[in-house]
């Protein structure tokens, strides 16, 4: 086979954004080796610009008609482009907020950045993976890099412990996921492409009930996916890992890694499991109910800011699942829109938490008391991000939640939407509690950490990027709600440009109308 025909078959240009990230990763590693420690002054910016160029390149590929690459192994459709964009953006912001944190902790910055870029690569490949082996390798690239990042503070026993727990739970959940995948390979008669598996399962099931094997495979696969998006009851690792690991890593795990999990969930369930649509929808209803209740209720009792954000992220994942359960075109669009807004508000919140812990060395909520007197900018930023996470108008989070709940209501999920409303009221309580702590306290009630608060200095090395990301995240969080039209049309266009979602929505609405007719007869 000659080179041109091979290259048209493989269509490698689809993964150009990933190749750009990979180049940035190699440049960071090699330059750090050659130049030495002084290189860490500019390697973060190489990584960030690589990620941003990759996002721009993703934009150029928006209307690509030949999206399938590597003989069906990778699908660069609009859905994958949006998710890859979210992951790359979250990695870029994470690098900006990690520079000062890593330097202050006395560990090597370039290694941190290269592992983070590897995790980003895994997440980006996972969003587009369309074949079992590719899915597995991408998932493990993301997971193993995340274990390493979690244990990055190797002198800190808490970081060690978090890494060990994450590794053991993560490895066992990926083994369970893999067992499900191996069953899928057998049940489909030896197919590894998701589309082929979907057709084979549909053919073998016919009009009858799906076989028990398919349901077992489905349950095992969902266990693996639910671990990645930290849905209850697969969430036990989340609070421990969030508390123990370095804060910038938590920021990436809560946005980038979670977005990759949702991308995997959509693609895998929609492409390979249309036969057991009713069943996986039912499982996700249960996961969403449990996540919303447990995440938001347990968050009430937390005293550590990082644990609070961990439980809040479990609750938020429950809200996002609403869109997946709705299964309509707008359902998927609202999920993507919510994840975009969540990216900005959650990373903004983590930026503030990092800034506070850099200046005071603590994450306890009680230590935030009276912060308003000493650092108004940090107080304002954290308040706006938390209000947005709680869904208070006119912040971006309100509009994202509104869209999600409205779509759920349209799809007839009345009970779920009511539950989501109740739990988001609960969530407002614990977000407001932090804000009240910071703002209302009298000067004499200040905590010890705030009393000895250092003078605010932005000219220390690594503080400028932190300031830039703080201000830009807070600005976007407060303005993206009112000016949400571009994001909203992007989310809608990504769903309507994705063939696999379109065909699935058509098929599922047909089957729903058939069951309606059946019930009327």
């Amino acid at each position: 086979m000659d080179v041109p025909s091979l290259s048209t078959q493989l269509n490698p240009l689809v993964i150009l954004p990933e190749l750009i990230v990979l180049t940035a990763l190699v440049v960071v590693v090699v330059c750090d080796l050659i130049v030495g420690r002084t290189a860490s002054r500019w390697t973060p910016y190489v990584a960030v610009s690589g990620l941003l160029v990759s996002v721009v390149q993703l934009g150029f590929q928006w209307n690509n008609d030949h999206a399938i690459a590597f003989l069906g192994g990778f699908n660069g459709d609009a859905l994958s482009i949006v998710f890859r964009g979210i992951i790359a953006l979250s990695a870029a912001v994470t690098i900006l907020i990690s520079i000062r944190y890593i330097e202050q902790s006395g560990t090597a910055l370039s290694e941190f950045i290269s592992i983070l870029l590897a995790a980003t690569l895994g997440g980006m490949f996972l969003s587009g993976a369309d074949e079992l082996v590719t899915i597995f390798i991408a998932l493990e690239t993301l997971s193993i890099s995340s274990y390493l990042l979690t244990g990055y503070m190797k002198r800190d026993p808490r970081s060690n412990e978090a890494a060990l727990k994450y590794l053991l739970i993560g490895a066992s959940s990926s083994a369970i996921f893999l067992y499900g995948i191996s069953l899928l390979y057998g049940l489909s008669g030896g197919a590894t492409k998701l589309v082929d598996i979907g057709t084979a399962l549909t053919l073998s099931t016919g009009l009858g009930d799906p076989s028990i094997g398919i349901v077992i495979a489905l349950v095992f696969v969902i266990a693996g996916v639910a671990f990645k998006i930290s849905a209850v009851p697969f969430h036990q690792w989340t609070p421990d890992v969030y508390e123990g690991s370095p804060t910038p890593v938590v920021a990436f795990l809560s946005v980038g890694s979670k977005a990759a999990g949702f991308a995997l969930a959509i693609r895998l369930l929609v492409t390979a499991f249309p036969v057991v649509w009713e069943q996986w929808r039912f499982v996700f209803v249960a996961l969403a109910i449990l996540s919303m209740i447990l995440g938001n209720v347990v968050a009430l009792a937390q005293t550590s800011m990082k644990r609070l954000l961990a439980y809040s992220s479990i609750g938020q994942a429950g809200f996002v699942m609403l869109g997946l359960i709705a299964g309509t075109e707008q359902g998927y669009a609202s999920m993507i829109f919510y994840l975009f807004i969540y990216l900005f508000m959650n990373l903004g919140g983590f930026t503030c938490v990092i800034l506070f812990s850099l200046r005071t060395g603590t994450d306890q909520i009680s230590e935030y008391a009276g912060l308003y007197q000493k650092d108004p900018l940090l107080t304002l930023g954290l308040s706006l991000c938390l209000l947005s996470l709680g869904g208070i108008p006119p912040m971006a989070g309100f509009f994202a939640k509104l869209y999600l709940f409205w779509v759920g209501w349209q799809a007839g999920l009345y009970g779920l939407v009511l539950l989501a409303l109740v739990t988001s009221v609960i969530s407002i309580y614990y977000y407001i509690r932090v804000i009240k702590m910071m703002v209302v306290k009298e000067p004499q009630e200040m905590s010890a950490a705030v009393l000895h608060y250092p003078v605010v200095q932005w000219n220390l090395p690594g503080m400028r990027p932190l300031q830039v990301s703080l201000i830009s995240m807070v600005l976007i969080t407060s303005l993206a709600g009112i000016l949400s039209n571009p994001l909203l049309s992007l989310a809608n266009a990504s769903v309507s440009n994705t063939p696999l979602l379109q065909s699935f929505i058509k098929a599922s609405t047909v089957s729903v109308s058939i069951t309606d007719v059946d019930s009327h007869l």
């Binding site: 390798i137 244990g151 060990l164 191996s182 421990d240």
Partner: protein, 101 residues
């Protein structure tokens, strides 16, 4: 030989792995249990590949990938266990209780 025997063996191995995962107190033994689970997956894949997909043997290729990734995972796992042993002088899972609510 029939396909069922292989699948039963793999399922049994997987269950032993899950049992070890739940009951072991030593972190290294937990890691070994996970390896057992991955090997059950490998058996499954090999059996399916020989019986259902003898032409393209995609399952065998998959198995090679699983073995490779399992090795990487074990390496990272042992490194983390080593660093926790240096800090805490133990690998007993029940001693790791710094993080809890």
């Amino acid at each position: 030989m029939e396909l069922q025997y292989f699948l039963l063996l793999a399922a049994a191995l997987f269950c032993i792995g899950v049992y070890g995962l739940i009951t072991s107190r030593n972190a290294v033994r937990v890691l070994m249990s996970i390896e057992l689970m991955l090997n059950a997956v490998n058996l499954n894949l090999m059996a399916f590949s020989n019986f259902l997909d003898p032409g393209e043997i995609k399952g065998q290729v998959f198995t090679v990938f699983v073995i490779t990734v399992a090795a990487a995972e074990a390496a990272v796992g042992l490194a983390i266990i080593l660093s926790i042993y240096r800090n805490r002088d133990t690998v007993d899972m029940e001693q790791f209780n710094l993080l809890k609510w």
